[in-house]
Subunit: 346 residues, 2 copies
């Protein structure tokens, strides 16, 4: 192991100061092009590599951001890993992966803190009030991604979050379906205790209520593929069938569409309209062409990185950032009210 | 920041030795249940958290494994991240993500080495001979995942790899298609310079040659979704059409099936048989039911972790592990030769 080449050796060979060597290897630090080239040449000649861990003990910066995920089955999360890793990497940070069961995030956090991470992003999961406090005490910023903090004042005070406007998204879905003449609107729920599911459903129900309607049927798919298949069968087990389903995410909506068409012989959108949430790449695949609510991963990741930086620089107030969302229309919702519906409402 | 609580403080409160505190917080170290409980209680009371980075400077173990990925569009790779992270996490290691362009793996490696990682897994990409040497000199084991090292003796000597038996997989596909009476067999290639593509194609072509046939047509999709759509259009731009296509991975096979059925109005498997490679979750979705070659992510990840451990413990010989694969039959290949074909070969 060539571990005995020091920054001093490099500085001597390159005929620059030791500080110039240090700045060359510190992402974001200022150093002239000429000096950088001298240092890189000397470093390469000597086989020098700066030790990020040793440096982190001095600067108290590990340049590691922990990312906690509970499941990657939903195709939305691979996108999040990719975009977040890319964005942070450009700034000299890297993502350390922690996979946690939905109810075990606390256990994983103890481990995370051992790595002296500069920040924590928790996707698809929340943390307990006690742990929010532990992180705050340790000076480690936490950003919840796609979830909002628990309602307790303490957790909310010390934890930031980034979500899309789930409530408004839910409203837009109900408005679209009503405008297109659907009247028996069902909801296929995700995880009941997740803020995404709660907000999407609340927006959807509010619009129905304002129109003097109620959700026609409701089943729970727990954000899983097989759960959504089962829930779809229950929603359509007896007539009159719902004429539209708002499914709480795309991953489940795809499962629902396959059951509707291939098992139950129903046509989408003629017999049943289907709307999802997320706009995962698969929603655009030719066999589905799912009309859905777009959550911009890019915008959500940008907001997350901004929040991390704010808090790493000592900003004490946590913030809950809400990113706008919009509907993308494909082929799973009909374009005009059917003649039947139009008549019955004339 | 509560950074001033030491292992000594914890030991004193728990009335155990300092070594017992250290062992409690070292994954895999031996410590009695009773001692562990005493230590954990004292640690919690004092707000103590051991510093993994400081420890790594003493033990020369960061307990970090770098994972280099070039693209996550293919649904196979999210599975790899999930399974690899889970498996390593159980052993007290965590995955640090590095996203690299296909031809920029070398640039990213310099950064990786700054983190004093215990090992590197490179998925879907290879490293240059020069960098293989740098890693070997630094004592950092590298395992290529789903790729084999370049043919140069040096890279091969110092780099281990895990792949499935791509050559045999390609053979199995050709054998299946011939057995089912398909005769105009096309190949839709992935990245031409990837070992996965080369081996799969070689196996496929060898069987055709043994049967006195040649590939009927060939186009390149570069392992991308849009590339596969384009390549499919070219394969079927003029008659007589291929009657079967072996697509170098599932991600592209799904794109091909949508073009065949939705754009060209062909039936799968009646008009065209389609076979993929990987068995991603989407291959089993009702709208595709793709017959494909199963690469076991579990087995490949297990082999990767075993190799890392071997090399971290000082095993100097690199190894290339080949994991068996098998065909899973769904509905994209017909079950019996069509009457026409049977007749023409009687």
């Amino acid at each position: 192991m060539k571990l005995n080449v020091t920054a001093q050796d490099v500085a001597r060979l390159a005929r620059v100061s030791q500080s110039a060597v240090s700045r060359t290897f510190t992402p974001g630090a200022s150093v002239s092009e000429e000096t950088r080239n001298k240092v890189m040449l000397a470093a390469q000649t000597l086989g020098y590599r700066p030790n990020a861990l040793a440096r982190s003990l001095i600067t108290r910066r590990s340049r590691i951001i922990a990312l906690v995920m509970s499941y990657l089955e939903n195709q939305f999360y691979p996108l999040v890993i990719e975009k977040l890793s890319q964005k942070l990497q450009k700034q000299g940070y890297h993502v350390l992966m922690f996979i946690s069961d939905l109810d075990e995030a606390d256990a994983v956090l103890t481990e995370i803190l051992q790595y002296q991470v500069d920040g924590i992003v928790m996707a698809s999961t929340t943390l307990s009030t006690a742990l929010a406090k532990t992180c705050a005490d340790a000076g480690v910023p936490v950003v919840l991604f796609n979830r909002v903090p628990d309602t307790s004042a303490l957790a909310r005070h010390s934890t930031s979050s980034v979500t899309s406007n789930n409530y408004l998204g839910g409203r837009m879905v109900a408005e679209l379906l009503l405008e297109r003449g659907y009247r028996r609107l069902a909801f296929l729920a995700g995880l009941e205790n997740s803020s995404t599911n709660q907000e999407r459903e609340r927006g959807f129900n509010d619009v129905l209520e304002e129109a003097g309607l109620a959700p026609y049927r409701r089943e729970v798919g727990h954000y899983s593929f097989s759960g959504a298949q089962e829930a779809t069968r229950k929603l359509f087990c007896s007539g009159p069938y719902p004429d539209a389903v708002f499914v709480a995410n795309d991953h489940m909506a795809i499962a629902a569409m396959d059951v509707l068409r291939l098992e139950l012989g129903l046509r989408v959108p003629e017999d049943v309209g289907v709307v999802g949430f997320d706009d995962v790449p698969q929603a655009a695949w030719g066999s589905y062409r799912l009309t859905t609510v777009v959550q911009s991963v890019e915008d959500m990741v940008s907001a997350t990185v901004d929040l991390l930086h704010e808090q790493m620089q000592g900003e004490v107030n946590s913030r809950n950032v809400i990113v706008p969302c919009r509907i993308v229309e494909r082929d799973s919702v009909r374009l005009h009210p059917s003649p039947d519906t139009a008549k019955s409402h004339q």
